[in-house]
Amino acid sequence: MRKPVLSLHDLKVEFGTRQGVVKAVDGVSLDVHAGEVVGLVGESGSGKSVTGLAILGLIDPPGRIASGSINLDGQELIGLPDSELRRLRGPSMAMIFQDPMTTLNPVLRIDTQMIETIRAHENVSEKAARDRAEAALRRVGIPSPAERLLTYPHQLSGGMRQRVAIAIALLMNPKVLIADEPTTALDVTIQSQILAEVQQLCAEMGTSLIWITHDLAVVAGLADRIAVMYAGRVVEEGDVDPVLDDPRHPYTYGLLGSAPSRNRRGEKLAQIPGMTPSLANLPKGCAFAPRCVFAADDCKVASPGLTRDHTRTWRCFHPVHAREAAQ
């Protein structure tokens, strides 16, 4: 089997808050192979962004990486000093964020923000860096890139700004790009354009992509594999078709809107009854049990371990099976 480019093992990230220690990421393991697209889905607060930030080493106090391993291309990232991590941010791993209105510095021109990225990593002339910046803008589909370089972020539309952010993230040909809901804040038509562009660029460059989203339809069309997070854990993970066509975990099942009580048309992300639990005082046993239609007594006692078949893994004592659900 191929060796993964990025491998998370039992990653735990905690935040010290007034309500106690919040385990925002609680034992996440995930492998990402070269050129692969992994969709990371889950409700708000399930720990998707924190997972992404932890990979880049951008968890700030009161948060900290409590334990686990993040292995990027054979190198362990946890415990690396910030100066070492900094050298990897850009050339090895990059991240783009949800709101294109705020990710670019409002008082610096686009060229400044692009050229500084290149020159932070390579000793190249201003001119050479500018040429590369211009080429990068062209690649993400920005018309007249030389002129755009001279503008300030506020002079560009949201879609254009997100394209600039993508161009910046891809400037150094990273091995892994983490896209944290980069299209949520945009118009639907622009969403799909940008989605297609990022997918294509990553495929061309051989960059692995972790696409964080709420939107299962996006993942279905984009990802090779999918990881479903709930309350800081990956509850189901595997090849995208089997997971979405025939989910094992009741949470995935619920997300798909295929629970018996739901209508199947329309919404992509069905509402699951109940609320996401507060991470500061999770119930004993399976964190999803209080909202789960399949929950039994054993779910409230112990946390389910990992079960696997040949295409995926899941954490559930009473997994859904297509045959049962059809009844």
């Binding site: 050339p91 964020f97 409002p106 008082v107 610096l108 506020h154 910046i168 993230a169 150094m172």
Partner: protein, 324 residues
Amino acid sequence: MLAYLIRRIGQALLVIAAMATIVFLSIYAVGNPVDILANPNADAKEMAEISARLGLDKPLWEQFGLFVWNALHGDLGRSFVFNEPALKLIIQRMPATLELAFVALIMSIVIGIPLGVWSGLKPDAWSSRAIMSGSILGFSLPNFWIGLMLILLFAVQLKWLPSGGRGPTTDVFGIPVSFLTWEGLRYLLLPAFTLALYKAALVVRLSRSGTREAVLQDYVRFARAKGLSPTRIVLVHVLKNIMIPVVTILGLELGSMIAFAVVTETVFAYPGMGKLLIDSIGRLDRPVIVAYLMMVVVIFVVINLIVDLLYAALDPRVRLQEAE
């Protein structure tokens, strides 16, 4: 841009005209200068003569009309005491005050921004707490008291710096300045520091809150995700954003620094406009008082305009929208 400038200048002229009226009328209301100027045992006839010579015997509206007419011709009257044009007296003293204010301004920036940014980056460190407590002192201790303490310490006790006055000056484009020689600078240090302290405290506060806000912004996170060094993030990404409020507020404060140099100049016997004002008030030298106040108004107005232009230059999102 041009339309904006013309409009702003129009507004400025209006403000100046309104201030001229208020200043003239309110000065007219305080005391009769003749009582002070005349020899204590002068009789009524002599008093009337002085009054006539200074034009104080005319009715108020006529005096005001004359004042406006002359002011439009660049003449703000002659000092009763020195018998010289009041404007000339002010302008002679102005370089000293401007120099004091600018040196104080630079001091407040040089002291305030690093301390503020530091305490904004490390809000919980003991050093930051010390800086913040210090800035409260800077706000609350009275200016003249700080001046006196500095004199006691550095001039009287340690004898490092002179206790007052202005040092030797050199002419630059015909303007006498003292900051170019070490000897001249020594005279400036204490009064400028006294004047700077309050503003430095203000700059500390502004840059601290600006920094605390900026480091939480997505653009800082993105800058880190790009692999930039913390130095570049702070010195370029954060500083450029916090400079917008700092420059705006400090620019506006420069006017008040010039105006309120009065106290510092008095404590340090520093021969600037402020000292002249205090002396003139003591002698009810109306033309000088009026000329001083008019000068301060003009300085305020000009500074305001410059600050607005600077603000637009610093923040690309501001494009002097009023122009449209």
